[in-house]
């Protein structure tokens, strides 16, 4: 007969250790089973000397084991000591092969054939044994690894780290820490921001990037790993660098097969789904409990608290509340209706569509970051033009979006369970409309970072947000007559695609009939005239393209390709056709639009012979502008060098309108055919500068301008992130003497930006620098000073779609 225990704990990480210590403390018979020959393998495998963090800081630790932030060695030492001190029954070198039986009588079989029996099983095996693998092709001979034990082992290597989570960032910092090792380290992150990493890590990484010790590639994925080199897809196309070793740290997925074999069910088919758990961590299999990273909780403090709590639950303590209970209690205190924290969490989760896939544990973590509020009927959630990038989820009641700024009675309702404010989340723009509660409602406000984390951790939530955003975009596009039900089929068939810069979604001559909506980025439309592609038009985000084929069943008449990395919604042409057939009004409108478009096409066709020179010029200038980032601009300064006399009055005017510092460099920048794109902000659709601003000081204003507010801390992240070099880090000079006193008495430096030395003499040594960039002269009557101050009309500010319009062709020919 095998040994019998009340509790068997599989895995000796922070969660398992804490559970075992609690069991030992309570005098419950237990066994702690560990696969390797040491405790806590995941932390054991951390880099030597790694600083182990203790986040979230607001959470209290409730465990018989001590833990505080410190070096890996100290943390492990403490645990080893206390495990012995608590008389924990540990069984090392024991890999569990199978778990059979039911609650009260489980039989655990080890790899060596031995067995033990237990009444309850706690699975605390984490997810590290199951890392996410690289998905791009890997050549034979290329070195790809998923762990890094000792960064000191590698010298003189070109190392690429894939993954901008904590593990990847810490590996990169470790490899680049000692310049003597002479490693050249590159860190690759799929998104533009490091949403899942701890703030301190991100800061350290950016500092290292700034110092040139690590090169950081964001919005980049590996497309091919060869021997000695790696190829990436970046925002601006493909790039290849030298690479001797790839360390992939792209997270890990639960070891699903084993957990399912134990009888526990998962929340969905997704690779990153977690087991379904009760609030007492019990899985769908009675007697099997799941805690720690495997339960969806990767942070050490949470793991340890769960270890403590689960043993208390098993031991019959039903009144125990989780350690974060007081924090959540405070959040729910002011809501109507007397519900317990658990009831509130369950209520929010089940009422809000995007929160539904979350486990109760994830809900707890999520609500620690988010706020929930009750709104009376008519109370405002947010006002038009408020700055704000949070997402609101409606848990009960409903809200009204005031679509017309002048007439608050024109509203669109959004029902319970849905979300509102997603535009702010995506673009960081100010609120586009005022939203008020239609009835007494309860809404969850999800801050931007929490929303990004939610999307990256819970894929179904990301899909739900995407679906709602798609649905709204399509509804707005097709006009007000349609309802959600009308386009349900289209939304179902819609597919979000990421298009690389330069890639075509529609090729001239193709017979496809699908319709594309540009979600982010922008596209250019080209037509082959003779043997040269002629630029037809520019499509900013929010446009749609490709419906002519649906109506006429004709082959595509032009090519549409991405100007920059873009996202499109592909709408099935047949579904769209069905919609048109059901809605004669929409069909008629579409027809008349298409006719107008055909006229433009015919016009360009006709021009190609008589005015081919003009068409050529237009086409090549357009291509030049798109190459220079106009494709993602919303407003750009263009200088006609046929007119520019080089007086720099634009720079002087800019400086004099903004605390004495110019936000543009007229002379720098690219020029084509005397059309000059100076170094000045383009107010990108998805501003790169916004990607990583610690105080969240960069916003988009009412007129579309991207501006930096007073909360700037001068970290310089935005300057580094801007691909166009338009942000300066400067000390703000004191006010100058007035123009008249300069004119008559020569006091002060005169109009324009003062000399650097003049500023240095007048500001304190330790004055912090601030990020300075164009704000399109927001709030200054008369508009951009650079344009107003140009004596010859050389400077204009334009939206690219206006400047790149085919109508220019007609105008220029008079």
């Amino acid at each position: 007969m095998a040994d019998a225990y009340r509790i068997a704990i599989v895995g000796s990480g922070p969660a398992g250790l804490s559970a075992a210590a609690r069991a030992a403390q309570l005098g419950v018979s237990h066994i702690l089973i560990e696969k390797t020959d040491h405790l806590s393998d995941t932390i054991y495998k951390y880099q030597k000397g790694k600083h182990v963090m203790a986040t979230p800081s607001q959470l209290v630790l409730r465990s018989d084991m001590d833990f505080e932030a410190g070096k890996r060695e100290v943390v492990l030492g403490t645990w080893d000591e206390q495990t012995a001190g608590h008389d924990v029954n540990v069984r090392l070198n024991s890999e569990v092969k199978a778990v059979e039986g039911d609650a009260g009588n489980f039989r655990i079989t080890f790899a060596d054939g031995e067995t033990v029996s237990a009444e309850n099983i706690i699975l605390a095996i984490g997810t590290q044994g199951n890392p996410n693998l690289v998905r791009c092709p890997v050549d034979d001979g290329a070195v790809v690894q998923y762990t890094l034990d000792d960064p000191g082992e590698y010298v003189d290597e070109h190392i690429t780290i894939i993954g901008g989570g904590d593990a990847g960032i810490e590996n990169a910092l470790g490899l680049a820490a000692d310049p003597e090792q002479n490693n050249s380290v590159t860190l690759v992150n799929r998104g533009p921001e490091f949403a899942t990493a701890k703030g301190a890590n991100v800061k350290a990484l950016l500092a290292a990037g700034d110092a040139g010790r690590i090169s950081i590639l964001t919005e980049t994925t590996a497309s091919h790993i060869g021997t000695g080199e790696i190829t990436f897809d970046t925002r601006d196309g493909e790039t290849k660098i030298r690479c001797d070793r790839v360390i992939a740290r792209m997270g890990s997925a639960p070891p699903r097969a084993f957990v399912e074999a134990c009888g526990a069910e998962f929340s969905g088919p997704d690779r990153n789904a977690f087991p379904v758990l009760s609030p007492t961590f019990e899985s769908s299999k009675k007697g099997v409990y799941v805690i720690g990273a495997l339960a969806g909780y990767p942070l050490i403090k949470h793991c340890m608290n769960q270890g403590h709590d689960v043993v208390e639950f098993i031991n019959g303590n039903t009144t125990l509340k989780p350690a974060d209970e007081p924090i959540l209690e405070a959040k729910f205190k002011n809501l109507p209706g007397r519900k317990s924290v658990d009831e509130w969490l369950e209520f929010l989760r089940s009422s809000v569509t995007i929160l539904e896939p979350m486990t109760p544990l994830q809900m707890r973590e999520f609500m620690l970051d988010s706020e929930v509020r009750a709104y009376r009927r008519g109370e405002t959630l947010f006002d038009r033009a408020d700055p704000g990038s949070s997402l609101f989820a409606i848990a009960s009641g409903s809200v009204l979006v005031q679509v017309d700024a002048d007439d608050p009675s024109k509203t669109v309702g959004i029902e319970c369970g849905s979300i509102v404010g997603e535009v702010g989340l995506v673009s960081g723009r100010r609120r586009g409309s005022t939203v008020v509660a239609a009835e007494d409602s309860i809404c969850v406000e999800i801050p931007r970072m929490a929303a990004l984390k939610l999307q990256s951790q819970v894929p179904p939530a990301r899909d739900a947000i995407t679906r709602i955003a798609t649905e709204r975009q399509l509804l707005q596009m097709f006009g007000s007559g349609l309802t959600k039900e009308d386009i349900a089929e289209i939304v179902d068939s819609a597919e979000i695609m990421t298009i690389k810069a330069g890639e075509a979604i529609i090729e001239e001559g193709d017979t496809g009939i699908d319709l594309y909506v540009i979600r982010s980025g922008s596209m250019v439309v080209e037509k082959m005239v003779g043997r040269k592609p002629v630029f037809l038009s520019y499509l900013p985000a929010g446009s749609y393209v490709g419906e002519m084929a649906v109506l006429d069943d004709t082959p595509r008449t032009a090519t549409v390709r991405a100007a920059i990395k873009s996202e499109v919604i592909k709408v099935d042409g047949h579904a769209f056709r069905a919609l048109l057939e059901k809605n004669p009004e929409l069909l008629a409108r579409a027809r008349s639009d298409v006719e107008a478009r055909e006229n433009v096409n015919n016009f360009v066709e006709a021009k190609k012979d008589s005015f081919s020179g003009v068409v050529d010029m237009y086409s090549s200038i357009s291509s030049f502008l798109v190459e220079n980032g106009i494709g993602e601009a919303t407003d750009v300064l263009l200088i006609d060098e046929n007119l520019c006399v080089g007086c720099d009055n634009c720079e002087k005017a800019c400086a004099d309108s903004h605390e004495g510092l110019s936000r543009l460099n007229r002379e720098a920048g690219r020029t084509y055919a005397h059309l000059h794109v100076p170094t000045s902000c383009r107010h990108c659709e998805h501003p790169h500068c916004m990607a990583d601003c610690p105080p969240n000081a960069i916003h988009r204003g009412d007129d579309g301008e991207v501006f930096i507010d007073d909360t700037c801390i001068g970290c310089g992240n935005c300057q580094r992130n801007c691909p166009y070099g338009v942000i300066r880090m400067e000390k703000v000079p004191p006010p100058k003497p007035s123009l008249l006193s300069w004119l008559f008495f020569g006091s002060g430096p005169g109009p324009g930006e003062p000399e650097h030395d003049w500023i240095e003499e007048r500001v304190a040594e330790d004055t912090p620098k601030q990020a300075i960039k164009c704000d399109m002269c927001a709030g200054i009557k008369g508009g951009p000073a650079c344009v107003r101050a140009c004596p010859t009309g050389a400077a204009i500010r334009v939206a690219p779609e206006e400047f790149l319009s085919v109508a220019r062709l007609e105008t220029e020919q008079g």
Binding site: L539, G546, N642, V645, E667, G793, S805
Partner: protein, 303 residues
């Protein structure tokens, strides 16, 4: 192939941009001369023609002069206009908020300034002589003529400035010269004293050498770099291959310096031409204001 900008939240039919057959003026480069369809040009022409006709038709006894009612009217208008034209200098430097455009001001300044030829001259009644009154008229004409020079270079030179610059900035051009100088210095180390002196002379030549005449005409003959280039082209080592290579390198560097020098000199020359007239235009304006004051005061006290 249908393409359309569909503004989020608005109706398709209303946001059809490509279809428009005109581009808003804000989206086009409209030069100062064509501003508002040359509104101020037409205005100035109208004023001039009207005044000339009036001058011919109106019979002033004994003859046209500044003291007649017409003369006073013209003089007052002219004086006021001169004061207003002077204000462009303030307007240009005072970045006050508001819906003004310096381009509009400049356009009006140019055209109305030209009409001053008619207004001022008719005011004199062609009674010119050696006195403070004619001095004011002469100064005014000098200001206008320099202004015409300004218009001319503003019309011609920007294109040349842009082509010569070719995406480099002035600072970059200067840096290039400094950079070549450093390379010349390093490369010339193995040379004998004679050769080193030639290179030193080339290094000593800066883009700013030469007087104002050379700066404006762009004619630089026989600078240190040109002489050095000629010298090293002529040099041929006698069978000494290592020296051959050195001479080739120096020759290439000297040629690059020559090219860099001529580019930045051309740049500076064009910029100088775009500005030099202001050094007459503006001081003469102040002289004109002084003479004008004397003219007005003397007229009222001593006429």
């Amino acid at each position: 192939m249908a393409t359309r900008r569909a503004d989020v939240g608005t109706d398709l039919a209303e946001t059809d941009e490509v279809e428009r057959s005109t581009v808003s003026t804000g989206a086009r480069h409209e030069g100062v001369w064509r501003y508002r369809g040359s509104y101020w040009g037409k205005m100035a022409l109208g004023i001039s023609v009207t005044l000339i006709i009036a001058y011919v038709l109106i019979d002033v006894e004994p003859r046209h002069n500044g003291g007649s009612w017409l003369g006073y009217t013209l003089g007052t208008a002219g004086g006021g206009l001169i004061l207003w034209l002077t204000m462009l200098g303030v307007r240009k430097r005072a970045m006050t908020p508001g819906r003004w455009s310096l381009k509009g001001w400049t356009s009006a300044h140019v055209y109305l300034g030209l009409s001053l030829v008619v207004i001022g001259t008719l005011h004199t009644g062609f009674q010119l002589g050696w006195n403070v009154h004619t001095l004011a008229w002469v100064l005014m004409m000098i200001v206008i003529v320099t202004g015409i020079f300004g218009i001319t270079v503003y019309g011609i030179l920007p294109r040349q400035l842009s082509s010569n610059r070719d995406e480099t900035t002035e600072a970059q051009m200067l840096e290039t010269v400094t950079d070549i100088d450093r390379q010349l210095f390093d490369t010339a180390q193995p040379l004998d004293a004679d050769g080193a002196a030639v290179i030193q002379e080339a290094i000593d030549e800066t883009p700013f050498d030469g007087g104002i005449g050379q700066r404006l005409s762009g004619k630089y003959r026989g600078g240190g770099t040109a002489r050095g280039l000629a010298d090293f082209r002529a040099r041929s080592s006698h069978g000494d291959r290592s020296l051959d290579e050195l001479y080739d390198r120096l020759e290439a560097l000297l040629a690059r310096k020559q090219a860099a020098l001529s580019r930045i000199r051309r740049h500076l020359r064009i910029k100088a031409l775009l500005q030099i007239w202001l050094y007459i235009h503006v001081p003469m304006t102040f002289a004109l204001l002084a003479a004008l004051s004397a003219h007005i005061v003397s007229v009222f006290f001593y006429w």
